[in-house]
Each structure stands twice: as structure tokens, then as C-alpha cells.
């Protein structure tokens, strides 16, 4: 029994080491004095300072946050409403439309990127901020729809009927019953969108130009000339940011449940 337990714990530990060791290495090396990443020569904060002075990189980071912020909020709003519509109303083509949501989610990024680029060229939209934003909203949308729909389909439909029965109109039912009950799914849908948008390379590569640079593309172009410790520092900052975001969202969901 105890041996069995020891083994399962060891196994679980091994999985987490596998997941987090590379990240840990990256964080440690971001404090490395050496310009060549593999040799350890001593602690320094130099790369963080030079990161702070690198306006090009910081501009790209700010751009990324702007795009991720707007696209995730927009996708969450549209996606939540779409999920509610899929659940509440019976209309012709409902199932087909819902399957199409999956198709968008499953289709390879490269296909998405190329098709969006062709579409934008066709309608004559100049490549830049607008096109990037539209594309990010597009590929985030299905994830929100699926996340929210998964939760809403577990509801007792009588709860919605009860609200209507007690005098709530469509909007009031949504505002006071559906939205509060869906909140955990909405938050995680938003978080998913935000991270997806923040680290997208492939789609963004096609739909943005030199007028509007974002962080993943910037890093991508930097590492083609070799991984600089600055990139390590930047990645560490991003990882810390993600950590804060996830912790916050977990706390929020927990708070709602209590």
C-alpha cells in the first residue's frame, strides 16, 4: 500500500518536473551573465535592464497586450451570446452552425492565416492593426462558444423557465440568471482567448505588417539570429504575468462559488 502510494506520488512529481523544468531553466538563465546562453557565469539583472531600454521590444509587448485585451473581450462577449442563442433557441441549421464552430477551432492555424489574408486582400483591407484584431477575434470565438456552451448545456432548463414565470423578460433572465450562472465559464473562456491571442504566431504572421508589430512575431524574428538572454528575460516576465492571471482567475471563480 505505502509503496504503491510512493510510486503514484513519484510519478505525479515526475510529470510536473517534465512540464516545468524547461521553464525553470529559462527563468534561471535569464539571470545569467553570459551572453551565450548555455554557460553559467554568474547572477545579473543586466538583461532585464536592457529589456527595459529596448523600446522596440516593449512597443511590441504593449501592442500584443492591446490586441489580446480587445480581441479577448470582444470574442467573449460575442461567444457568450452565441452559446446562449445555441442553447435557448431552436432554429433551422442550429446543429450545422454549431459544428462549424468546431471546424474553425480544429482547422490548422496556417489555413486560417492564409484564408484570412486572402479575404482581407479581397475586400481591400490594409494589413495592420485592424486585420490582426479581426483575425484574433475570429480564432478566439469558437473557444469561448464551446466553453460557455459546455456549462450552459448542464443547466436545468426549468431554472430559466422559473425566471420567466416569475416575471423576468428575456434580458432580465440573461442578466440575473444566466450570466451569473455562466460566469465561471465566461471567465475561463476569456482567459483562454487572452492567452491564445497573446501567443499566436502563425495566424498573426500572415495578417499583420511592419506597421503593427506584436511580441511573438518580434521574438520569432529575434531568435532567428540566435537566442539572446534578453529574450529569456522577456519570457520570464511573460511567464510571471501568466502566473498572476491564472491565480487571479482561479481566485475569482472560487469567490463566486462560496
Amino acid at each position: 500500500m505505502t509503496r504503491h502510494r510512493f510510486f503514484t506520488r513519484f510519478y505525479l512529481g515526475f510529470i510536473f518536473v517534465f512540464l516545468y523544468l524547461p521553464l525553470l531553466v529559462l527563468i534561471v538563465y535569464s539571470f545569467n551573465q553570459s551572453r551565450y546562453s548555455t554557460n553559467w557565469t554568474g547572477w545579473t539583472l543586466h538583461w532585464y535592464r536592457s529589456l527595459w531600454d529596448n523600446t522596440l521590444l516593449l512597443d511590441a509587448a504593449v501592442n500584443s497586450l492591446i490586441v489580446a485585451g480587445i480581441s479577448s473581450v470582444t470574442a467573449t462577449a460575442i461567444g457568450t451570446l452565441a452559446a446562449v442563442a445555441f442553447y435557448r433557441y431552436r432554429f433551422i441549421g442550429r446543429k450545422v452552425l454549431y459544428s462549424l464552430v468546431y471546424v474553425v477551432m480544429m482547422s490548422p492555424d496556417i489555413v486560417m492565416g492564409i484564408s484570412l489574408l486572402i479575404f482581407f486582400m479581397l475586400v481591400g483591407l490594409p494589413i495592420g492593426f485592424q486585420t490582426l484584431l479581426l483575425s484574433h477575434i475570429t480564432f478566439c470565438l469558437p473557444f469561448v462558444v464551446v466553453t460557455v456552451y459546455a456549462r450552459i448545456s448542464g443547466f436545468d432548463p426549468r431554472v430559466i423557465e422559473a425566471a420567466r414565470d416569475l416575471g423576468a423578460g428575456e434580458f432580465q433572465t440573461f442578466r440575473y440568471i444566466l450570466l451569473p450562472l455562466l460566469m465561471p465559464a465566461v471567465v475561463s473562456g476569456w482567459l483562454l482567448s487572452f492567452t491564445l491571442s497573446l501567443d499566436d504566431v502563425i495566424v498573426s504572421f500572415f495578417v499583420t505588417g511592419p506597421t503593427f508589430e506584436i511580441l511573438p512575431l518580434k521574438i520569432y524574428s529575434m531568435v532567428r539570429l540566435g537566442v539572446k538572454p534578453e529574450v529569456n528575460a522577456l519570457s520570464t516576465v511573460l511567464f510571471g504575468f501568466t502566473l498572476i492571471m491564472v491565480t487571479l482567475s482561479q481566485l475569482l471563480v472560487k469567490e463566486r462559488k462560496r
Binding site: D156, E161, A162, R164, D165, A168
Partner: protein, 362 residues
């Protein structure tokens, strides 16, 4: 009779081509406790949903308080529902659940608080305002569901098998409590159940339904003692059904031959000589005699097959000489503190004149 608050006029509602409600008409009168009774799938819940506004009829009109409401959404009808699953709002506490309807009506905060407190007091949940509904027991949730509906003082309260999820004791308790609340509130109740005992205990009037139609409407006593047809007779309570044929008939009497014996019965339905009939007798209306009756009046001969002790009663299964089993219930009382029959003992069955029900053999 008092005013009709709900009228269904020739309502038909089909799902996938199957009629859940079939050209059904009924009226509900102000202040009554009406029960829709029937087996599952008979359309009773559909009727409730039609009145509440969750479904629209394919044909026919629904009138509430003399206004046609066919196209009115649920939130604009003066009826409230207690759901079978309670359907409480899980993210709200007891107070917010009950206050939901009042807040939507735009009542003042103080007025809302007062009304909610009164209603919670009435359903014996005083002091539970801040509890989360997910932490309540089934019985308490049931009370919150009830309070949430009646706090709006609807014209009609619709109850969709609200007691079916409770255990036996609690169900009995809630039956009496619902009756008390009905008297206290003076609101019209439309109660749906498949439990005939529950229907008889609680209702002023019962409508027995089958396959989307009304089989009989009447007081619990009428439904039990004077079933209009075989379906009602068999659905409500235990009953013995005997095949018979009318040998002779007059204006108010008839002679029916049952299992080879002629009985003289009351002719309430204008039967004529030669008509095939069913003679129905409740187990408690039959009497067992240990010796062949000497008064010359007819009886059915048989033998005791099984004796089932039920606490306050003893159920006896008697097999007639031609093989038909008959159920008889005997009560313990001062004349019969001790009831016992040997298995296989020969007995004779009879009943008090006029207690039988004679129906045409459909």
C-alpha cells in the same frame, strides 16, 4: 358555482405528430384546489405548461381571467409555477430566490423584505433568509420553491408534481401543509400528480386524464365511488372487475348474471336485456362469509388463497370456483379484532346493495 379563472377551449397540442393534449376543454374555478390526475404521458404536465405559457397550443384558446392569453409570454401571465425539480436559482440565497419576482415588479425594498419575511414565516422557513439554497434539504427546497411562487400572489398557482421527490413521510406532511396553505391564501391551485392517493387527499375537484383527454371530472368522492368508466375505475384505487350480462332489466333495476349467479342491481344507465356489462366492486365493499348465506340472497363462492396482513387491514385474495381471483379488504374493528382464514377455506362473497358500479363493457 364561482367564476372561471382559467378556461381551456378545445386545446390541441401535438409533439412530433403525437397529440399530447387532444381537443381538451376545461374550466378552473376561483379558489378551488383542482388536481389533474393521470398516468405519465397523459398530457397533464403539458396542460400546466400551456397555462404557464411555456408552450403554445396548436389549436384552441386559453383564457386567464377572461382574457385570451395564447400569445402572451410567461412573464406577463398572472400565474406562477412550482416546478417538480424546484428549479431554484442556485447562485442566490433563500431571500433572493423568494424576492426575485417582487423585485422585478419594482416593489420598494422595504415592502419586498416584509413580504418575503411573511411568506417565509408562513412556510416555516423564518430565519433562513441568508442560507444558500444548495445547502437546504429536499423538504426545505420545496418550501422555498412554493414561497417563491406564492409571494407574487398570483391568480393561479400551478404545481407540477411538487411532492414526488420527497420521501413518504415528508410527502404526507407536505400534503396537509399544502392544503392548509391553500385555505390560508385563497389562491386557486392547479396541482398535477400521478398519485391517486395524493389527489384524493388534497383536492376539491379531480380531473382524471388519459391520452390527452378528460376521462372524468368530479369530487374525490365521486371519482372514487362513481367512476365514469373503466379507465377511471382502474386508475383510482384497487377495484375488482366482474364480467356480467344483463338477463333482465326494468326502468330502475336489472338482473345481472355474474359467474353463473344472478344479482339484482340498480339500473342507473338504462341498460337493456342482453347488454354485456362490467360490475365493479372495491375490495373494502366486499364481505366474506364463512358459511353459505341462508337468507337465499345471491353470493359468489370461492376459496381463500392468500392472506396479507397490512397493519390496520387484512387483504384477502379469494379465488372463485371458476378461477377468478378477487381482492377483499377487511378492517379490524370491535367486531373483528381478530381476522383469520385458513388457506383453501371455502367462503362466500357478497356486498351491500347499491354499492356496486355497473358500466357498459367497452
Amino acid at each position: 358555482m364561482s367564476r372561471a379563472v382559467v378556461q381551456l377551449q378545445h386545446i390541441t397540442k401535438t409533439y412530433d405528430g403525437l397529440a399530447a393534449v387532444d381537443d381538451l376543454s376545461l374550466e378552473v374555478f376561483a379558489g378551488e384546489f383542482l388536481t389533474l390526475l393521470g398516468p405519465s404521458g397523459c398530457g397533464k404536465t403539458t396542460i400546466l405548461r400551456l397555462i404557464a405559457g411555456f408552450e403554445a397550443p396548436d389549436r384552441g384558446d386559453i383564457r386567464i381571467d377572461d382574457v385570451r392569453v395564447n400569445a402572451l409570454p410567461p412573464n406577463r401571465r398572472d400565474v406562477n409555477t412550482v416546478f417538480q425539480s424546484y428549479a431554484l436559482f442556485p447562485h442566490m440565497n433563500v431571500f433572493d430566490n423568494v424576492a426575485f419576482g417582487l423585485k422585478l415588479k419594482g416593489l420598494q425594498r422595504n415592502a419586498v423584505a416584509e413580504r418575503v419575511r411573511d411568506v417565509l414565516e408562513m412556510v416555516q422557513l423564518g430565519g433562513m433568509e441568508t442560507r444558500r439554497v444548495t445547502q437546504l434539504s429536499g423538504g426545505q427546497q420545496q418550501r422555498v420553491a412554493f414561497a417563491r411562487a406564492v409571494v407574487n400572489e398570483p391568480l393561479v398557482l400551478l404545481l407540477d408534481e411538487p411532492l414526488s421527490a420527497l420521501d413518504y413521510r415528508l410527502r404526507k406532511e407536505m400534503q396537509l401543509e399544502l392544503k392548509r396553505l391553500h385555505r390560508q391564501l385563497g389562491i386557486t391551485f392547479i396541482f398535477v400528480t400521478h398519485d391517486q392517493e395524493e389527489a384524493i387527499t388534497m383536492s376539491d375537484r379531480i380531473i382524471v386524464m388519459n391520452q390527452g383527454r378528460v376521462e372524468q371530472s368530479g369530487s374525490p368522492k365521486q371519482i372514487y365511488e362513481e367512476p365514469a368508466n373503466l379507465f377511471v375505475a382502474r386508475f383510482v384505487g384497487e377495484i375488482n372487475t366482474f364480467d356480467g350480462s344483463v338477463e333482465a332489466a326494468g326502468a330502475d333495476w336489472l338482473t345481472v348474471r355474474i359467474h353463473g349467479t344472478d344479482f339484482r342491481l340498480v339500473n342507473k344507465r338504462g341498460f337493456r336485456s342482453g347488454d354485456p356489462v362490467k360490475v365493479l366492486l372495491r375490495p373494502e365493499d366486499l364481505q366474506i362469509q364463512k358459511t353459505e348465506p341462508a337468507d337465499g340472497k345471491p353470493s359468489l363462492a370461492g376459496a381463500v388463497e392468500e392472506l396479507i396482513y397490512k397493519g390496520s387491514t387484512v387483504d384477502v385474495i379469494v379465488r372463485l370456483t371458476d378461477g377468478k381471483p378477487v381482492y377483499v379488504t377487511e378492517f379490524f374493528n370491535e367486531n373483528a379484532a381478530y381476522i383469520f382464514y385458513e388457506r383453501g377455506q371455502k367462503v362466500w362473497l357478497r356486498w351491500i346493495d347499491r354499492w356496486e358500479v355497473v358500466l357498459p363493457d367497452a
